[in-house]
């Protein structure tokens, strides 16, 4: 058994649950690990402290692990992930005013993302005709599914997210304020911030992230590749601790204990955490609740095992929105970030996925099924394409 002291960074979000439970409810200790959790305020801080070695590991946006390994927008530090902390978990929330506008122009059930996207398209066109300011949406980071899901949803109705609307990065704790002040008309963020907006009466949850894509790797447990190479035993112990925690989280009998432990770290009421973990979210200030068991998945149905299809999906989004070019060598770098081999070595082979998972591994609400082996073909099938040259330089 290993005995190691580890510093691990996290952002106070519900999708850090497996990590928080591993550290606070004894699963790390069982593996001989002494974890010091460090709460951070920005993804930039988490990334930088992980990169320069102040953190041994971190709760990280999956696309940031990819971007860091590619060296886009920032210094290149190869990161790997042997464990997914969460599948899904985001939602798109809009202001009451925008919701009313969408509802008025919708040609069907607005809970259907293609209907809401088309309604948004009509509003956008109307604003353009009147030379009104474009609608503004907040998201958490340039390399995030919050960014990509908003874009995917809009583009499905022919909206160009770079031309027709404004997308701005906002720290999650500022989202609700920005919606209240009218600085943004909507946002895509993780739990608990959508619920906070609904509870304070300023916003409505329009879509769960899982309605845009049924299965995306939202947050990963990330370490530097070099650290992984140097500390194989500690890493295996970490994977076992996280897996035990994830199983504990998915057992409904432990919901109260889990919600309480997570709420302590997040500084919110346990009930807010429970709502997110069970996928029963109040979507409107009038009390309407929407339920979806796929809202967030921690350890169910292979959620924790790194999936090469997810790596390809993230790279496809990065290329689609002009953050990096499509190249075989970059593609190989991206695939090397996701390490199911380390997961399997620590835990034994993963049982086959249960039913109900999307056949292409993603399950997007619009567009053709995703072919991980043919990213070029996938991008070709979309009408909105970025100009040839990427707008980001690779930092070497």
């Amino acid at each position: 058994m290993t005995h190691a002291r580890l510093r691990i960074g996290f952002i106070p979000l519900v999708d850090a649950t497996a990590l928080l439970v591993a550290a606070d409810l004894g699963f790390a200790k069982e593996q001989g690990l002494d974890i010091e959790l460090v709460r951070e305020v920005s993804w930039s801080n988490v990334r930088d402290k992980l990169n320069i070695g102040l953190f041994d590991a971190a709760h990280l946006l999956a696309p940031v692990a990819v971007a860091s390994s590619l060296g886009i927008g920032h210094v290149r530090v190869p990161l790997i992930t042997p464990f997914n902390l969460g599948i899904n978990g985001n939602a798109i929330t809009v202001s009451q005013r925008l919701f009313a506008g969408l509802a008025a122009t919708a040609d069907g059930d607005i809970a259907d993302p293609i209907v809401s996207a088309r309604a948004l398209g009509r509003l956008v066109a109307e604003r353009k005709k009147q030379s009104a300011e474009p609608l503004t949406f907040g998201m958490t980071f340039p390399f995030s599914h919050h960014n990509y899901q908003l874009r995917y949803w809009m583009a499905a109705a022919g909206i160009d997210p770079d031309e027709d609307v404004r997308l701005v990065v906002l720290p999650p704790p500022y989202m609700v304020d920005s919606l209240t002040s009218g600085h943004v008309d909507g946002f895509c963020v993780g739990a608990p911030w959508n619920s906070v907006a609904v509870d304070s009466g300023v916003g409505r949850i329009l879509h769960f992230g899982c309605e845009i894509q049924a299965r995306v790797t939202e947050k990963v447990f990330a370490v530097r590749q070099r650290w992984a190479d140097d500390n194989p035993d500690t890493l295996a112990a970490l994977i076992r601790a996280l897996a035990a925690a994830a199983n504990f989280v998915e057992d409904h009998a432990n919901l109260a204990a889990v919600s309480e432990a997570v709420a302590r770290r997040l500084d919110v009421a346990p009930e807010v955490v429970t709502r997110a973990l069970t996928g029963n979210l109040k979507v409107s200030p009038d009390g309407t609740v929407r339920s979806d068991s796929r809202y967030i998945m921690i350890g169910r149905n292979g959620a924790a095992r790194p999936d090469p299809v997810q790596a390809a999906w993230i790279y496809a989004q990065i290329v689609r929105w002009g953050q990096a070019p499509l190249r075989d060598d970059l593609r190989a770098t991206v695939q090397a970030v996701f390490r199911p081999d380390l997961y399997d070595a620590a835990l034994g082979a993963c049982p086959p996925l249960g039913g109900g998972e999307p056949p292409d591994g993603i399950g997007a609400f619009a567009g053709p099924a995703f072919e991980a082996a043919d990213i070029a073909g996938h991008l070709e099938s979309w009408r909105i394409k970025r100009p040839g040259a990427p707008r980001l330089s690779l930092v070497r």
Binding site: S44, D48, T140, V168, V169, L170, P171, Y174, Q323, V395
Partner: protein, 212 residues
């Protein structure tokens, strides 16, 4: 081009020389005191184009309006993520990059993280110029932290004084003694029990409350 006209930049110091006064520096800090300390330091060091951004609403628009060469922001500021969006812009603006990009200087990066400051610097700026700014930031951030610690200590001391004064009052009344005697009693008890005088004074106040 007109004949005989001087080449642009003639008379100015050679590139890479002392042109720091032309560097535009933006400080993003919600603490006006720390921002002022930093700004003073930069001005003393000869950087005259220093702007403060205290309000982080619409931060990106403010930064673009200023068009700085260097942006300084505290690591405890969540708006760091907002600045990351600068790297995503297609329009022709100067593109500051994070200080962490140059990994050759890991000592100064760690010192900066320790002090709690991060910097974004326009690509192509000479390394020595960055280092001098960063070093200045680190020392000013550290002295602000020291100042803050001293202030906290002073506040604690003031609080202690109040507690001790009240305890003296309780003792003077209960034992019918002078102020000096009451204080001597507190001090002696503190020494015997190996505690701070303020702690003993607090127990006196707690006990007095219970006997009320």
């Amino acid at each position: 081009m007109r004949k005989g006209s001087e080449p642009p930049g003639h008379g100015a110091p050679s590139p890479g020389g002392h042109r720091d006064s032309t560097l535009k520096i933006a400080i993003v800090d919600e603490s006006p005191v720390r921002a002022a300390i930093l700004e003073d330091g930069l001005r003393e060091a000869g950087f005259t184009l220093v702007e403060r951004i205290g309000e982080t609403r619409n931060l990106l628009a403010r930064v673009y309006a200023l068009d700085p060469d260097v942006i300084l922001i505290g690591l405890e500021n969540p708006s760091r993520d907002v600045l990351e969006q600068m790297f995503q812009m297609s329009r022709a603006v100067k593109r500051p990059v994070a200080m962490f990009v140059d990994q050759s200087d890991s000592a100064s990066i760690e010192a900066a993280v320790d002090a709690g400051v991060s910097a974004y610097i326009v690509d192509g700026l000479k390394k020595e110029r960055i280092t001098s700014i960063l070093d200045l930031c680190i020392s000013r951030f550290n002295s602000f932290a020291r100042l803050q610690a001293e202030l906290d200590k002073a506040k604690d001391a003031l609080e202690d004084r109040k507690i001790i004064d009240r305890a003296k009052g309780v003792l003077m009344k209960a034992r019918n003694c002078t102020e000096e005697e009451a204080y001597a009693l507190l001090r002696k008890t503190a020494m015997n029990e190996n505690k701070r005088i303020a702690e003993i004074a607090q127990s006196v106040l707690t006990a007095a409350e219970m006997f009320k």
